[in-house]
Structures are given as C-alpha cells and as structure tokens.
C-alpha cells in the first residue's frame, strides 16, 4: 500500500495557509474600510482626518483586491483550458 504522505502534508499545509491568508486579508480589508466610515458616520470626536480616511480606504480596497487575486488564481486552477 502506498500512501503519499508528502502530498497529504502539502495539501494540509496549503489549505491552512491559504485559508488564513485569504480570510485574514479580507477581514483586515473590511476592518480598514469599516473603521474609517463608522466613526466618521457617527460624527465622533475621534473621527479620522480626511487624509487618514483616504489611507484607510486605500488599504482596505488593496486588501480586498489581493483577496480577489486569490479568487482569480482559484479560477485559473479550476478551468483546465488555462493550463
């Protein structure tokens, strides 16, 4: 009986790393996007300045965009015509 332990370990590691990376990126992105708009919306004293708000929004979309790239890579893997 041949069990490909190497492949098994690889699959397990890839799954754990990819899950944490994508979910982490996405949640950091959402955190950045909501942190800014939330406080500004409530008109709190701690509302970030305009430049800081822009920075947060930029970071947020950058994170979501990177997570989106992972999704595109997933599509590339799924569709056999690409490789």
């Amino acid at each position: 009986m041949t069990i490909n332990w190497g492949a098994l370990a690889l699959v397990a590691c890839a799954t754990v790393v990819a899950a944490i990376a994508i979910v982490g990126l996405f949640s950091l992105g959402v955190a950045a996007l909501t942190a800014g708009s939330d406080r500004a919306g409530r008109g709190e004293a701690t509302a970030p300045s305009r430049s800081r708000l822009n920075l947060l929004t930029g970071t947020g979309f950058a994170c979501l965009g990177t997570a989106g790239l992972f999704a595109l890579y997933g599509l590339y893997l799924i569709i056999p015509q690409f490789h």
Binding site: M1, T2, I3, N4, A7, L8, L10, V11, A12, A14, T15, V16, A18, A19, I20, I22, V23, G24, F26, S27, L28, G29, V30, A31, L33, T34, S37, D38, L64, A67, G68, A71, G74, L75, L77, I78, I79, P80, Q81
Partner: protein
C-alpha cells in the same frame, strides 16, 4: 431491442439519475452557508450553483479514464455491476438525504461498486489497499484539515475584527461568501460532472456503441451536465438545513471563513495529488468556523451523527450493491427487478420525506431535519409493506430504527397533549 442495447440504456438512465442525486446532495456544500447567513436568497443560491455546475461540467475536458480510480479492478467490471453499484449509490444518497445527512456521493458510488464487484467477480476484483489509501485515510484527513484551517481562519478573523458580525462589516462578508460559494460550485461541476460522463462513456464502449479510447460524445456531456445542474437546482434542502443551521449558528464572517477554507482545500487536493471528499471538507469547514469562535457553539451531537453517516456510507452502499448485483446478474429479469426496486425505494423515500418536507421556504426555520416514519399506522408497523422487492425491504430497515442522523424520529403522529394527560408534570 437487443439485450445489450437494453442494458446500456438502463445503465445510462441510472447513471443520469445518480448524477441528479449527486447534484442535490452536494448543492449544500457550495451554498448551505450562504443560504443560512442570508448572503443569498435560497432560490438565487441554488440557481447560481446549478448554472456553475453545468458550466463546470462543460469546461472539464479531462474525463476519468477509470470508473473508480483503481478501487475496483476495471477489467472485471461489467455494465450490470456498474448498474448495481449505481442503484446502491442512489438509494444510499436518498436515504442520507431523507435524514438530512451530508455524505459523500463518491463514497456511495465506490461502496456500491465494491459490493457489486465482490459478488460479481470475487474478492480479487477489489483493491483493498487502494480503498484504505484513497477512501479511508482521506475520509479521516478531510474533516481534520478543514476543521483546523477554518478554525484558525475564524479565530484570527474575530481577533482582528471584533465587530465582524455587525453591519457594515457583515455585509462585506456576505458579498465575499457569494464569490467563495461560487468557486466551490464551479469546482464541483468540473470534478463530479465528469464522473458520470466517464461511466456512460465506458458503458457505451463496452457495449460496442463507441470506439475504444474516444472521449465522451457531446450528448453525453450535455446530459450529464444538465442532470447534475437540475439536481443542484432542486436544492437538497434537508441537507442544506443540517449544514447551514444544524451544526453551527453561522454568521456571515463564519460562513465566509468556512467557504473560503473549503474552496482552498478542494483546489489544493485537486492539484496536489491527494484527493479529499468535497462533502467532508465542507462539513468540516462549517464545524471549524463554529469551533474557531467558541467550541460550545458547535452542536457536537449533530456532528457525531454526521460522522456515523460517513462511517456507514461505504459498508451500507456496498451491502446494497452486493444485493443488487446478486439479483441483477441473474439475467435481464433480474435487471428489471432491481430497476423496479429502485423505483419503489425512491418513491417510498420521497413519500416519507414529503410528510416533513424541507424546502426553500422553510430551510432556515429549524435546525433539525425530522423524519416521520409512520402516519396512521399502529405502533411498530412500517408503512408501504406491500411491495415485495428485496432491495426495498432492506431499504426500509435502513430507514426505520436508531439514530443515524440529526433527526427527531417520531414514530407516530404527535399525540394530543391536553386531554387525559397522565404525565407526571401535569398540574394537580
């Protein structure tokens, strides 16, 4: 009509029916969490999943060269054995669906084939070491990997974003879920759609209706794609309830973490040479997304029943496959008998499911999938005991006793509670 043509036609129809059950069984894998968190309306969810399944079936050009990936020795396999295996897999898929249990359609098919080959070709027809390395070990590893990955992802998610359950953050996660769920549906179409195409193509080649070594014909691809798509669209709401509501009360960030983990695990296993069952990965991810937040959030009782279902899938399908093969291999009349048993079994299970129907309107209303065996029969009696097909009587035994599923079995209609109550907690 010649005997060969009859047998080939029967196998093709049965294979397409199996494809249909495969579709509605696995609809929940892609969309249960999206439906449960409200990211997608139930009908929209199954429509997206169905379309992507069909697209996936057409995209995939690489059709499985062997039916079982070496689990049974394909040289010994005859169309009749394939037929018996398919019938067993269908009946097991329907039984687990009745109880709302997510179980692997591939394992059911392999189990059915193993049983049929054991009867038809003997012990030498089954490669037991491949059974261990390709079914048993992945069956243990798939949920373990998924629970770990989804658990960690969920843990970090709430760590970094404590307000994830609140709007507007929750809305972002719902949008993310739509993407991750769609990925699972597409990946499912490319892998499971081609299984049925492979079976039909092999039967056509064996029957001499297609040249050996040629790929599936266009009508085979179209029929298989549409069968799995139709199955997916029909929703398998009983299983969807268990996966979306029964295991964990999911919020959209957890749903996103679960679906992303599942997609990652499915793609990794497909491209790194160690196949994991989609169903077990997806169920494990849901459990992980609950455990990563709070261990007590997982309803471990439901998880345990699901585990029993997984353990039973292979032997139960093998048993049905063996019985079906023993009958079918006696000749054309035997094949007809098994076909009749399949129809009777399907009708019975569907009739039982109708008594406590789960559909797109009530899928999120409860956590439990209820199975009510008898309606107006006296205590202990089993309804519909008139048809004599052997397959079906084992089928009913499967359904009636014990606690295999996330279920509440009510053996008789709920008795009136108010009148002549003798229970101890009644007042006075």
């Amino acid at each position: 009509m010649t005997t060969t043509l009859f047998l080939v036609s029967v196998v093709i129809v049965t294979a397409l029916f199996f494809d249909f059950t495969n579709g509605f069984h696995d609809s929940a894998n892609a969309m249960a969490t999206s439906v449960a968190t409200g990211a997608l309306r139930p009908r929209t969810a199954v429509l997206i999943a169905a379309v992507l399944n069909v697209v996936g079936a057409f995209l995939s050009t690489e059709v499985a060269k062997t039916i079982s990936g070496g689990i049974v020795n394909d040289a010994f396999v005859t169309p009749t054995m394939i037929f018996a295996g398919l019938v067993a897999a269908i009946l097991w898929n329907l039984t687990t669906w009745l109880f709302g249990l997510p179980s692997s359609s591939s394992h059911a098919l392999f189990g059915g084939l193993i049983g049929a080959v054991l009867v038809g070709a003997g012990v030498s027809g089954v490669n037991f070491s491949v059974v261990v390395s390709k079914i048993l070990l992945p069956a243990v590893m798939a949920p373990a990997v998924a629970v770990l990955a989804a658990g960690l992802a969920t843990f970090f998610l709430y760590r970094w974003l404590g307000t994830a359950d609140e709007e507007p953050a929750a809305g972002w996660f719902r949008r993310g879920q739509t993407v991750s769920g769609s990925m699972i549906a597409l990946a499912h179409g490319t892998s499971d759609g081609q299984k049925t195409m492979g079976v039909i193509t092999l039967v056509l080649i064996t029957g001499g209706y297609q040249a050996a070594g040629t790929g599936p014909q266009t009508w085979v691809i179209a029929c298989a794609g549409l069968a799995i798509g139709a199955g997916t669209y029909s929703g398998g709401w009983r299983i969807m309830r268990t996966m979306g509501k029964g295991l964990v009360d999911l919020h959209s960030p957890q749903g996103f973490a679960a679906e992303t983990t599942s997609a990652a695990a499915i793609l990794a296993s497909a491209h790194m040479g160690f196949g994991l069952s989609t169903t077990q990965v997806c169920s494990g991810s849901v459990i992980g997304s609950g455990a990563g937040r709070k261990l007590s959030q997982v309803r471990w009782g439901t998880a345990r029943k699901m585990l029993y279902g997984w353990l039973l899938t292979l032997p139960a399908a093998a048993f049905f496959g063996a019985v079906a093969a023993a009958v079918a291999l006696t000749g054309t009349f035997g094949v007809v008998m098994v076909l009749v048993a399949l129809v009777v079994g399907t009708t019975t299970i569907v009739a039982i499911s109708r008594r406590t129907a789960v559909n797109r309107h009530n899928v999120n209303d409860s956590r439990d999938v209820t199975v009510r065996i008898s309606r107006s029969f006296p205590k202990g009696a089993v309804p519909g005991g008139t048809h004599g097909a052997g397959e079906d009587s084992t089928q009913r035994e499967r359904v009636s006793p014990d606690h295999i599923g996330p279920i509440v079995i009510t053996h008789s209609p709920i008795p009136p509670t108010s009148t002549n109550s003798t229970s101890s907690n009644s007042p006075s």
